[in-house]
Amino acid sequence: MAACHEINEDPKLYQKSNKILLMGNPNVGKSVFFSNLTGIRVVSSNYAGTTVSYTEGTMKLGNETYTLIDVPGTYSLEATSKAEEVAVRFINSNPAAIICVLDATNLERNIKLGLDIQRYNIPVVYALNMVDVAKRRGYDINLRLLARELGAPVIPTIAVKNEGIDKLTEELQKILNSSKTTCGNCASCPGCAKLGMNTWDRAREIAARVRIKTEGKPSFLDRLGNSMLKPWPGIPIALLTIIVSLGVIIGAGKFLQEYILGPLVGDVLVPFFKMIISYIVSEGILHNVLIGEYGIFTIGLEWIIESILPFVFLFYVVFSFLEDSGILPRLSVLFDSIMRKMGVQGGSMITILLGYGCAVPAIIGSRTATTKKERLMISAIVCFAVPCISQTGALISLFAGFSPILLVLMFLLSFAVMMIVSSVLSRIIKGKVDPMIIEIPNLLMPNGKAYAKKLMLRMKNFFLDAEVPMLISIVIAALLKETGLLEKIAVYLEPIVSGWLGLPRSAVIALILGIIRREMAVAPLLEIEGLTALQAFVGGTVALLYLPCLSVFGILSKEFNTKTALAISLATTLNALLVGGLINQLAHLFM
């Protein structure tokens, strides 16, 4: 089986022969067809993505080998978006044939695309997909009539159950082996006869004729999906979903931490590495850097595997589920009015929620925003007020020694900052924010394999993106500590750290490491003995609001520019020190 890779632009591909294009609206099942036809599993998501990339794979038909291309989903070929531009370029690059996937539950706009494709005179086979859903909704479709109108074979399919795929490849082979175009007799072919007509009107007319209304039986998920869109019972369900999600992340995370990863690190890994390294390396700086108080194999394993990993993993377990099941777009609808008041729109909520995992994908994801102003607002909100999951994990560990109320207070504080920051920014940033327009996908149980694959991909990215900076910061921590440099820096920062924030001097290391990785602004606090609840809260506040980590700085400079990155970093740092200090000073005033 050939390799499968994502390509953004590859002029060579246009010259490649034997291409078969897999086209259709977004979310009609193209990617499921792609993996069924090529044997390659690809990540598929339940809402229309925006990064315009495509996937190619090899497909055998008889003795011929073809390159199957999963073209980005499009609604038309009018090149009104990046995805459509790419689709048009593909269609103009001499493909052997097209498999056009139609969604049986949305005939009008799918037929519209079919009619657009028809004009290119390329051999086409139509897969009328999702016939199971259509049936449930009470639609029956006259396939013969549809095939005549589209001037090409139409095969009913259920991609997820692999139904109709054999018939589809059979028809595909037929049209590939027959002469060039399928439409030779222009006078009698309805496709050409009505070419002058507006395609939308024609699509609507065809849809009305081929569709036969029957008795539908909406499933439980259909009905639940609909009620989740109304304030009642939608909002209670949404709040419950959020609470359950947090409960799963925090509860199961703590369970993993205490009963599985904690013992694994404390009783097995650390003693193991200590033993081996003491055996090889003699006492001295290297020894301490490796297994000393801040050693790579002691603190490193503890911070990464025990404090952070369980929460990162569970966050993505929950987030990917919410994403693939179609719950997130429903939250966007319910919370649109609140998001509007914050100066963004409902659709941005998904991006901001993603920021609770990590700011980097959220800032990249903000590309979905239609205006510059909204992108900037989302990115700034995420940098100012949204703790990433690694950091939340560290905060949970930090507050575990005190009271869970601290965690609740911290979240409330983060919401308050979010509200203030967004209302200030929406006033000072010029430009406008477009109102929400979203299509709400069906509520469904995520496809197991696609879900597992996505989860794996996200964990892999976490390890690649996080592991290296985390190790670097641990090495820096160990070096600062072992060389005594930390003490010297601490003297300079003393007025801020101890005077204004009321933290112990050793907390300086948190401020320094926080620049490299966000959770590292919290993790060192875990090591300080005799920290009071107030100190933990102030430390947590500073960490929460502090300068985003180096990777975030990098992505901000890349997606916007260095000036924006610097401005956000400076503003967040000042804000962190201001709010943290105020909390400390006020608490002392009243206590």
Binding site: Y75, S76, T80, S81, T105, N106, L107, E108, R109, K112, A134, R137, Y139, W200, D201, R204, A207, N226, L229, K230, P231, P329, S332, V333, L334, D336, S337, R340, K341, Q345, G346, D434, P435, M436, I437, I438, E439, I440
Partner: protein, 79 residues
């Protein structure tokens, strides 16, 4: 509702009655609307308008679409 309507029987989708079918009379020139099939002469079923400046929820065939207030106000429909 106080909206001056240029054409007889045409009203804003945002304020139109819930749970009713409408024919689109006019929409702002926005690509996404077109893509989703919200074009002149399309038949849509309006489900509801969310309170407090929330979006309009409608069905175009069997897909559900939510449209923010500021655009939904500018979509004109005929009863």
């Amino acid at each position: 509702m106080k909206m001056k309507n240029p054409v007889q029987g045409v009203k804003s989708l945002y304020y139109a009655k819930d749970n009713q079918k409408y024919i689109i009379a006019d929409t702002p020139d926005i690509g996404v609307l077109k893509s989703l099939g919200i074009v002149k002469n399309a038949i849509v079923f309006k489900k509801m308008t969310h309170k407090l400046g929330g979006p309009v929820l409608l069905m175009v065939e069997s897909s559900q679409i939510a449209i923010g207030k500021d655009i939904a106000e500018k979509i004109l429909v005929r009863g």
